[in-house]
Amino acid sequence: MVNYQRRLDRTFAALVDPTRRAILAQLERKSSATVGELAEPFAIKLPAVMKHLSVLIDAGLITRTKSGRTVTVRLRPQPMREALLWLRRYERFWGASLDRLAAYAERSETDRHGRQ
């Protein structure tokens, strides 16, 4: 449970930054990319990009493989799936509960009108 919470914390903390989301979006379009390719569209220096990549790696959102001098980065979507399930739990609970609230309130309104 603690690990699960910590994983969620890391996932959401990683996703809060627009540059990191843009990196993930790039990786979604192509199956893998080198660090240089990932850095290209951004007006920030390579060390800053590396820092973002290391946050994404810690969160388990990307993996990195090194072959010779080339570092290749790939998307790892599992943590996002977990975060999505967490969000859906609220949506499901409140979605269905609010339907039941609406049905109950409308029934009460009709009953009260009937009595008056």
């Binding site: 609220y90 039941r100 609230l101 609406a102 109950y104 309130a105 309104e109």
Partner: protein, 92 residues
């Protein structure tokens, strides 16, 4: 804070909906995502007051949530904090 918005239009007077959300008798009638029963419903609907709801789903599992009324303006508005028992985290 990240937000999630769910909207329902209800054909009932605001006071009826407000009572359904903020009284123990009201909560017991609808709380929970399926037709399983509400086992405990407690509500102290004033600013700083608390509520607690325990319910059973049709699959037999029981869940409990509780929280605090942060803002309350009958019959139009209620803001409450929310926490699952056994889970960390808090939302409003």
């Amino acid at each position: 804070m990240t937000s999630l918005t769910l909207v329902r239009r209800i054909k009932a007077r605001p006071s009826i909906v407000f009572d359904a959300v903020t009284t123990a008798q009201g909560i017991a009638q609808w709380w929970g995502p399926d037709a399983g029963p509400v086992l405990i419903a407690e509500a102290d609907p004033r600013k700083g007051g608390r509520y607690r709801v325990r319910f059973r789903l049709l699959d037999g599992s029981e869940h409990e949530c509780s929280g605090e009324y942060l803002e309350i303006e009958p019959p139009d508005r209620v803001v409450m904090s929310w926490r699952w028992k056994g889970g960390a985290g808090r939302s409003e």
